[in-house]
């Protein structure tokens, strides 16, 4: 079985509130999977469960070959996570940040050095790597954050709105990098609000009020609802779902 992520009826309740309501999905190895949904749909909660940060209330799943309930600590070594918040230390330089995160994943010495060089080449970090991370322009920070997340060559990379607040050129370059990673066999699990980005994904799921209401390739979904593009499809789906209840 070479699926990177498999979840069945995954549910998370916070008290009376059901943040994630019995979702099931499967992501193949090397796939770029778009995880869409309106704000508050439960995407971040779902990702946290997949990353082993949060235990589900019910349901089960396997990520990178590990059980998300029993082996959530093992999952952490096999995945990379880039959150929507800027998650590097602003007072440390880019390199210090990379060294720090690399060491947490057990990289050290020559191996760490080689990985930092390779990541910095892939992301064209150049001389930005020696500046305090807090002083970098937003686009460069995001690249650096991606660098920190892929240093240990994770099998699966979770990206939670990785391109928020970044200009279109940076976003395009960022996605080029993601494609390179996918080509090398990394599975990418991406949340985004940009529908043009969603169309870069091989398959997408659309989540609303904790449930997955649609799942398939962007083309199939657009065709199914007879809309001009993904943006209109997304909006009409969410509105229709709201009206139904």
């Amino acid at each position: 079985m070479n699926a990177a992520v498999v979840v069945n009826n995954l549910t998370k309740k916070f008290g009376d509130f059901t943040a994630v309501d019995s979702i099931s999905l499967k992501v193949e190895t090397g796939e770029i999977f778009g995880f869409l949904g309106a704000n508050g749909a439960g995407k971040t909660t779902a990702i946290r469960m997949l990353c082993g940060l949060l235990l589900p209330t019910s349901g089960d799943g396997i990520v990178a070959g590990h059980d998300i309930i029993k082996e959530n600590e093992k999952i952490k070594s096999s995945i990379g996570y880039m959150s929507q918040k800027f998650s590097l230390y602003p007072d440390l330089t880019g390199k210090e940040n990379l060294v720090f995160y690399g060491s947490l994943y057990g990289l050290f010495g020559d191996r760490l050095k080689v990985r930092i060089e390779s990541v910095s080449e892939l992301l064209s970090l150049g001389e930005f790597i020696d500046r305090p991370a807090g002083s970098l322009p937003v686009g460069w920070r995001q690249r650096l954050a991606l660098g920190a997340a892929i240093l240990h060559e994770p099998k699966i990379l979770f990206l939670d709105e990785p391109t928020g607040g970044v200009d279109p050129v940076f976003r395009r370059r960022f996605w080029e990098t993601l494609y390179k990673l996918a080509d090398k066999g990394t599975t990418l699990f991406v949340t985004t609000h940009y529908m043009d980005e969603a169309e870069f994904c091989r398959r997408i799921s659309i989540m609303h009020r904790g449930r997955i209401i649609e799942l398939g390739t962007p083309g199939d979904i657009i065709k199914k609802y007879n809309q001009p593009n993904l943006q209109e499809t997304f909006i009409s789906l969410i509105l229709a779902s709201d009206n139904n209840g």
Binding site: L53, E73, S87, Y89, E96, F100, Y101
Partner: protein, 368 residues
């Protein structure tokens, strides 16, 4: 272990790069010591004394001299036209008025009965009780000096002696307590802020997605602050000994060992606070409230625990500063060792273990 070191190294970088916070962390204890050392001064001296001397003899002048040279009394505003002692108290800045009627010197020589009047303003209770006890002592010393050397004083005399702080200097009493208050405050404040900062900026989430356990994160982040707190403790200690002349009779090593336990308790409290709040600002306010007030009011730092209402006395048992203040005073002023201070040391260890356990447990659940 390697990961703890990695996190600790990163934390040291944060501490060293943030020069302003480092400066505050190192200077605040010294400034606080200075402020508290001088402001919280319960020594009563410079009591303003007026004298109405109607005897005007060498004996009366000798008595007056003894008062003014005691270090406790100074001359009040001079208003020679006033002859009513009550008016002197009301109209001048005098706190006490001594009235020596004619016949004083004769009575001293004859050993006959005589009363010297002493009128004390009772508005400030501390000041007036100090004034009355000081004047009694000075008066007795005067009487003894006036007796011929061969006189045998019949009966029992009271020999009053003050132990441990013979100068009765309140700075000797307060400054060691200050070490306890400052260590508690600084340690809890700095750790709660540094952890809250990672939660606020989102780096904590990033850390937790990597293969490190919450325990490793806490350890790595807290260890550098043990060093910083010890440095602060040494600063305040040196300041106490050099500047305020607080004696150090006991073992510095024992003080350091128990001090480290106390610091760990304080740091754990900081970690515990940081699990309950999500912003640095809240962390700061919570840490100050949780440490400052109890450590100052309920630890015996200023107010005697045995004079507190029973309910408060029970509460003081949960305040780590209570035990450390007893330890540091015991070691510095009395030279006490572990044979005396073991109950305090054990109590501190128990509190430390409870706080550490709670912090570790809470930290795990909260990030879920």
């Amino acid at each position: 272990m390697g990961k703890i070191v990695t996190i600790a190294v990163k934390e040291v970088r944060h501490i060293l790069r943030d020069r302003r916070s480092l400066f505050i962390a190192l200077m605040m204890p010294v400034l606080m010591t200075l402020l508290y050392g001088y402001a919280v001064n319960l020594d009563i001296n410079n009591i303003k004394l007026a004298v109405l001397d109607y005897d005007n003899s060498s004996e009366s002048r000798e008595l007056i001299n003894r008062f003014y040279h005691s270090g406790y009394f100074i001359q009040s505003q001079s208003r020679p036209e006033l002859s009513d002692p009550e008016k002197v108290l009301k109209l001048t800045d005098a706190i006490a008025v001594m009235i020596i009627r004619p016949g004083f010197s004769k009575a001293v020589i004859d050993r006959s009965e005589f009363q010297v009047g002493m009128l004390i303003d009772g508005a400030d209770a501390n000041m007036s009780s100090a004034a009355s006890s000081y004047s009694a002592v000075i008066f007795n010393q005067f009487l003894i000096s006036q007796m011929p050397p061969e006189t045998v004083i019949p009966g029992v005399t009271l020999s009053l002696q003050v132990l441990y702080n013979p100068d009765l200097k309140s700075s000797h009493f307060f400054v060691p307590g200050l070490v306890a208050v400052i260590l508690m405050m600084i340690s809890a404040l700095l750790t709660s802020i540094t952890i809250a900062r990672e939660k606020e900026t989102g780096t904590m989430e990033q850390l937790l997605t990597s293969p490190v356990t919450p325990r490793q994160i806490i350890m790595g982040k807290v260890i550098p602050y043990i060093g910083l707190a010890i440095l602060d403790g040494v600063f305040v200690y040196v300041f106490a000994v050099w500047h305020f002349g607080v004696p150090m009779i006991g073992s510095a090593v024992l003080l350091l060992i128990i001090g480290v336990i106390y610091i760990i308790a304080s740091l754990s409290l900081g970690v515990l606070i940081s699990t309950l709040v999500n912003t640095q600002q809240l962390a700061m306010m919570a840490a100050l409230t949780a440490t400052m007030l109890p450590s100052v009011m309920l630890s015996g730092f200023i107010f005697e625990i045995k004079n507190m209402p029973a309910v408060l006395q029970v509460i003081t048992h949960a305040i780590p500063a209570r035990y450390f203040i007893q330890v540091i005073r015991g070691i510095m002023l009395k030279g006490a060792g572990l044979e005396v201070l073991w109950p305090q040391a054990v109590a501190l260890m128990i509190i430390t273990l409870i706080l550490l356990g709670l912090a570790a447990k809470k930290f795990k659940i909260k990030i879920g």
